[in-house]
């Protein structure tokens, strides 16, 4: 250190004395977003539980868990795509395509090849999405809107619009649909494993960090040496694969490959959950924990209202209202300024 000059005083003006209290620290760790969701879940559980104590029974909890497994899977990967700054509207169609193909391949070649083939098709669909976006320079929303139509058409064509095959007698598919490990249904395990995996990926790996960076500022990420095209392709392929897995689960649950039924509209559900869980549609922000909480909130809401015998029309109204409420709470608690378009 030759000619030294000044060293600026203390870099921060926060004295060690005023370290935030434990409650504040917990809040920060949990995130305002997640706290509000937890509160909303607690509120809904309380209301429904007091109306009908059966809500709390283990079988019903299993019912909720298995009901959210498929949409949960899609919400989790959608979160990943959204954090990276993209969107994948084609997930429902990929799931449908995977559902029929898994059943058709299964019928001729057995469950394992059925699953592998379907996941392979999902990867291919994701790769196509990614290529259209990266090399065709098409906005992710339009690109996947287009492939939403195209993949659906392909699923209908190869199945001639009919449910395909019968997997209800195959031990593997039955295990997927109705089996359980350590008393917890397989479907829930699958969601937990995938969600945990992606959570770890996002939170603790260099790849995950880079995904946040790409979503936060793609120019900066590129200049910082991140190969962003590879990330975009990779994430879309991953999304395709998980969507295919969801399709296989649809096959397992319904006992046959469904080209459209059961997968149509899943994309909106997934996006709703991701956004409710705090993923910013502009990219760079979001957590798997938030998304999973949102999936749970939506799941118990549907289950609870059906359990209480709420008419399906009222369910729509209540769901919309509660969604607004949950997010408004979130936002007001985060103390953001009330100006302009919220991100």
């Amino acid at each position: 250190m030759p000619t030294q000059t000044v060293s600026t005083s203390s870099p921060t003006r926060v004295s060690p004395a005023d370290s935030p209290g434990f409650f504040r620290r917990f809040l920060t760790a949990m995130g305002v977003q997640n706290m509000s969701l937890l509160m909303a879940i607690a509120f809904v559980v309380l209301v429904i539980g007091t109306q009908n104590p059966l809500f709390f029974t283990v079988p019903n909890l299993k019912v909720i868990g298995t009901a959210i497994a498929i949409s949960g899977l899609l919400a989790v990967v959608q979160t990943l795509v959204i954090i990276m700054g993209g969107l994948d509207i084609s997930v429902g169609s990929i799931a449908g395509l995977a559902s029929v193909t898994s059943a058709m391949i299964f019928t001729s070649a057995g469950p394992l090849i059925g699953v592998v083939g379907a996941v392979g098709i999902g990867l291919l669909c994701g790769l196509i999405n990614g290529c259209i976006i990266v090399f065709g320079r098409v906005n992710p929303v339009i690109a996947t809107l287009a492939t939403l139509a195209a993949y659906k058409g392909i699923a209908q064509l190869i199945s001639d619009g009919r449910a395909q095959g019968y997997t209800g007698a195959d031990p593997f598919f039955v295990f997927l649909a109705r089996g359980s490990v350590l008393g917890v249904p397989t479907l829930i395990w699958i969601l937990v494993v995938i969600a945990l995996g992606i959570h770890v990926l996002l939170r603790y790996t260099t790849m995950g960090r880079n995904i946040y960076a790409v979503g936060g500022n793609d120019v900066a990420s590129r200049l910082a040496g991140i190969n962003i095209n590879r990330y975009i392709l990779g994430i879309y392929m991953m999304t395709g694969a998980v969507a295919a897995l969801a399709g296989i689960l649809i096959t397992a649950r319904t006992g046959s490959g469904q080209p459209v039924s059961g997968s149509e509209g899943l994309e909106l559900e997934a996006i709703t959950a991701a956004a409710l869980g705090g993923a910013a549609l502009k990219g760079g922000k979001g957590t798997i924990a938030g998304t999973i909480l949102a999936v749970i909130l939506l799941g118990i809401l549907t289950n609870g209202m059906t359990l209480l015998g709420v008419n399906s029309f009222w369910q729509n109204v209540a769901k919309g209202g509660l969604l607004v409420l949950a997010v408004v709470l979130q936002q007001l608690r985060s103390g953001e300024r009330r100006i302009g378009l919220p991100g």
Partner: protein, 318 residues
């Protein structure tokens, strides 16, 4: 123009056309298995009759698209129109449009009426009648099983904002009540999006809410709904013997039977889309070529099938 001009009373009666014929077959939910079958039946009939082209159009569940596609096929000057409307309330608009263009039209699967309340010629099996058959079969199974109203619940699942679902489910309920009397088991309606997965999810909650119930009667708007509910019941530990599921369509219920599974899907109403499509096209061509008036109601082959007889009744299980 005001759009109110009285339509010229030109066509509608049909007549002798010798050349090639084009018939538009407009279908709601054209991507569903039943309607795919129907379109195939129509094409098969056209091929047999010779020199007839069938133009199949999928309307989805969109009443507005139905009007657009009506306009479209009219502008294309097709020779005849067969339509499955997404919503029966649009009947008058549809019939007026065809009348104004002088193109003969018939309804398929769902009955429609003009503004004066007069039924259009029809081929198929209307929603309420389908429901009635399902309800009767469910009542028969119920009586056979010797269940009582106290230990039994009826689960009726389907998309509640589709008029045809309401008719089918209401029809089934009415027939069931008629058969077993007013003191039959309580009915629980489950609103779904007509998919098997949604039926499973929603039924799961309902089963929780009715924990003490022993026996279940199940029907729905389509095979997806009824089989979804049956699967949910079986997943929750209800034995197939305690489930009387009656499907509608038989294309999914047949899968359990074909695999020889013990299942709560006891029987199903088999509605042959192929037959409906065939019948509708045959009548229409008869009108166009020979001037034979459209029969007011052509009822196609529909019957209850079960694990024992589905094959011989001609159910095709993919």
């Amino acid at each position: 123009s005001s759009g109110m001009e009285a339509p010229g009373e030109s066509g509608a009666a049909g007549g002798k056309k010798d050349g090639p014929l084009t018939i538009a077959y407009l279908q709601k939910q054209g991507d569903q298995q039943y309607f795919v079958d129907e379109a195939e039946g129509a094409k098969a009939a056209a091929k047999e009759l010779g020199n007839v082209t069938i133009k199949v159009v999928n309307l989805g569940v969109d009443a507005n698209k139905a009007i657009s596609e009506m306009d479209s096929v009219i502008a294309q000057k097709v020779d005849g129109i067969i339509i499955v409307v997404p919503d029966q309330q649009i009947g008058p608009q549809v019939l007026d449009a065809a009348k104004a263009a002088g193109i003969p039209i018939m309804a398929s699967d769902d009955v429609i009426q003009d503004a004066a309340g007069k039924d259009a010629p029809f081929a198929g099996f209307d929603g309420t009648a389908m429901g009635t058959k399902v309800g009767e079969e469910a009542a028969r199974l119920y009586a056979e099983s010797g269940w009582t109203a106290e230990n039994t619940r009826i689960l009726s699942a389907g998309k509640l904002d589709l008029s045809v679902c309401n008719q089918r489910m209401d029809g089934a309920a009415a027939a069931f009540t008629k058969a077993v009397g007013a003191d039959g088991p309580q009915t629980i309606q489950i609103g779904t999006d007509n998919s098997a997965t949604d039926a499973q999810n929603k039924a799961g909650a309902v089963i929780t809410a009715n924990a003490g119930v022993q026996n279940w009667v199940v029907w729905g708007c389509n095979d997806e709904s009824s089989t979804g509910v049956v699967t949910a019941l079986q997943n929750s530990g209800v034995s197939p013997a305690n489930i009387n599921g009656v499907g509608l369509g038989a294309y999914l219920t047949c899968k359990d039977w074909s695999a020889g599974q013990t299942t709560g899907n006891k029987s199903a109403l088999y509605i042959s889309g192929v037959e409906v499509g065939r019948a509708a096209v045959t009548s229409m061509v008869d009108l166009l070529r020979n001037g034979t008036a459209l029969p007011p109601a052509t009822i196609a082959k529909t019957e209850i099938v079960d694990a024992g007889n589905w094959k011989e009744k001609g159910v095709a299980c993919t």
